[in-house]
């Protein structure tokens, strides 16, 4: 018997218990058959009803799942995850101090200098990929602590571009 706590965005969490071909979810019992069609595509037959579910992304707990051309954000925790959660505080509201490249591409232009005070929505730099230019903007008030990319250079997805520090409080 494997136990999970599953939550869809906008819904209450539910308890899921899984056994070979048997499941209990939110107190109801189901029979199911599962087959991985590919690494990230799963065929599920639950009480005879077919569902094809595709996993688009996963960090182990948070997942993006797609079925019938609709995307759902789902979190799935096992007992170990729940224990970890208790002892590690959430860092959701932390100031975003590292700006990472959202895609591989080329840095076309850098608009900022170290020490600049920026307002939300200011364009820090411009990246080009697939022949389209994309502006990388700030989300909150901040000060430029460091610039880690050069104009006309190539960057990877996830590469550090800029470090920011929180604005001085008045």
């Amino acid at each position: 018997m494997r136990k999970y706590t599953v939550k869809l965005v906008g819904d209450d969490a539910g308890e899921l218990r899984l056994e070979q071909n048997k499941a209990e979810f939110k107190g109801k019992e189901f029979e199911y058959d599962a087959k991985f069609i590919s690494t990230d595509v799963l065929l599920l037959r639950i009480n005879g009803e077919n569902h094809i579910v595709r996993l688009e992304s996963s960090d182990g707990v948070k997942m993006e799942l797609i079925t019938e051309a609709v995307k759902y954000n789902v979190t799935c925790k096992n007992e170990l995850d729940l224990v970890k959660e208790k002892y590690i505080s959430s860092d959701n509201n932390r100031f975003k101090d590292k700006i990472l490249s959202p895609m591989p591409g080329a840095v076309v232009k850098i608009n900022i200098n170290e020490g600049d005070e920026l307002k939300p929505g200011d364009v820090m730099l411009v990246l080009e990929a697939m022949k389209m230019e994309n502006e990388i903007k700030t989300e909150s008030d901040c000060i430029v602590a460091g610039i880690h990319a050069q104009e006309k250079s190539s960057v990877n997805k996830g590469q550090l571009l800029v470090t920011l520090s929180a604005p001085k409080s008045e």
Binding site: Y4, D40, G60, M63, I66, A69, V74, G105, A106, K131
Partner: protein
Amino acid sequence: MIKKILIANRGEIAVRIIKTAKEMGIKTAAVYSDFDRYSLYTKYADEAFYIGPSPASESYLLADKIIETAKMCGADAIHPGYGFLSERAYFSKMCKDNGIIFIGPPAEAIEKLGDKTAAKTLAMVNGVPTVPGTAEPISDAVEAKKIADEIGYPLLIKASAGGGGKGMRVVREGKDFESALRMSQNEAKSSFGDDSVFIEKYIEGGKHIEFQILADQHGNVIHLGERECSMQRRLQKIIEETPSVVINDELRNEIGERAKKLVKAAGYTNAGTMEFIMDKDRNYYFLEMNTRLQVEHPITEMRTDTDLVREQILIASGEKLSMTQEDVEFGGHTIECRICAEDPDNNFLPSIGRIDYISRPSGNGIREDSGIEEGDEISIYYDSMISKLITHGKTREIAIRKMDEALRNYIISGLKTNIEFLHSLLNSPAFMDGDYNTQYVERIFLPEVYKNERTLPDENTETALSIAAALFKERKEAAENGTIKSVNGHSSKWAGKKYEDYR
């Protein structure tokens, strides 16, 4: 008659052209860059030849290299597809000078109609209404600003050599003009090698309506009706349909006849598309002529039961059009969705990766024009559009239902695509009612409809998602512990590789 066609393009459009050529008994030769060595279209063609490194500027844009390859393999014609060299007058001329048939208009006609400024003047002379704006292309920023302030905002900056939304920007206020101009010029320069732009009044709340034209070398010109392409984001088309709900037979006939007159005046031959913007009161203004096959050409093909590539080949061979205007029959309703490798939840950033699974929709009235297959990598070098889904039904409602079903059954695994976004847009009240314009996606759908639309699934789907989540989690953990291997045992060779390794 043409014996062998070299296709100076890649991806889905190369596959599309090869299909018709094969049906006509014509041999085909593909060209490829390093990246495309084993792409679907290269295998589907009878022959395939290497032309250079992955960046388009070192392969698909090399006119000399492509002409040389055509001569070497004995191709007597070149089809340019769309994008790349398709609207370059010099390329059409180079083909002619080398004794190769260019499957498209002659150089003089591309210059006259493909050049937006010249086309606008010609339209005015021939009694087709045009939008107020610059008469000449400009590249000087100071002068551009002065003209922009005179025309007034909002306005549109367009690359004079442009297409496909590249190098285009809408500017709403004078203070944003300079940065928009710079970005537009940079994109124009990197995409087309020409940074001159022109500026015109932006018609708010307009519909994008375009007309398909065919003209042979014997003076016969026909139109195949309109395509409504108002579902756009950043001037890139997303969903197209024909007929448009705002065009009746009388208006179709009026615009079609005017478009034909303009095409004749320019001495244009082969397939072309005349774009118009139409305001709320159904006033229409000529925007530009695309002197090539359009991405969205299949919706016209399915509604009129024609093969535009076949007509292009026949025209280029000097044959007469296979039909007159009276022969053109419009039947039913057709919709196209453009499937792109991009992430709608993250500002539509391009998504790259390896396609490890693909399941395509099919059936009566469903067509998929695709350039991809399992195992393919999607790169940053080329456009993010990977395939097109087209549905045809007796009524608009049936075509929509078929598209809805097709999108539900289209599964591409290994990278993010816009399939869910398309599905949501297709089912939006505005699309259902046909009541949308070119601003709908950016002004209303994205901020107000798409974000709020994440309704909860029904109970059975919720159960399925929950069990799936747990099984995916177990699988991921097992894979990390080394107890199982991934289904196909591959991982993307692109992940973690540096962009410059491929430059």
